[in-house]
Symmetry: C2
Subunit: 108 residues, 2 copies
Amino acid sequence: MTYAKALQCLSDPTRRQVFERLRAGPQSVGALARGLPVSRPAVSQHLKVLKTAGLVSDRAEGARRVYYIDPDGLGELRQWVDRFWSDSLRSFKNEVAAPGAAAARKKP
Amino acid sequence: MTYAKALQCLSDPTRRQVFERLRAGPQSVGALARGLPVSRPAVSQHLKVLKTAGLVSDRAEGARRVYYIDPDGLGELRQWVDRFWSDSLRSFKNEVAAPGAAAARKKP
DNA sequence: ACATCTCGTTAGCATTTGCTTACCGTAAGT
DNA sequence: ACTTACGGTAAGCAAATGCTAACGAGATGT
């Protein structure tokens, strides 16, 4: 059920930008904010949400906090999408072959 | 860039419910609304959004419209998540091996 | 022709959400 | 001790978002 949180997190564009910037490697909050069009507190709030979704983790490094991507949350999302995609592809092939074959139609 | 729309679509819980109900097979709007805690127009609006994101398609069947999952939108999302997951897993392994090795630290 | 069923669209409303500005605690440097 | 750098949190606000109720259009059946 954690894929739901992951989806909601990654739905916001700027939050997704924050997340994608971490793809290059661990970074501090200030470094992230410097390359984004929003303020530093905004980035901090986004990181908080990303953390509660299990998408990132953080580690103290002196005065600054370094954030990095945590594969756990992304893994669950990946699993959900993968299963969904397999099922959908199968039922879609049946669909184009015999349209409405799987539908619950009252009056065919 | 369509994965962005897919993410925003699937972030809403009820919209995700609509989408997951189509997993079983093509269904009409009324049939979908009957099993959900929201009104029929709400379902109709959700389907509209899902359609513009390439996640579903529809076909006229007499007076009613039957919706079904379109693999295109989901496929792009899948691709994006897959790539992201591979990269993240790799950099995460490097991370636990040598913490901060990939980080851009000004003062090590 | 009339009534019925199905669905999309609009207007309006309540809630949520992302952002900024301020403030406060902690860590390092002098 | 004082100052500076870094980042989390709270308050407040403007914008986006999802919902319902009401209406209109097209197909089906009698």
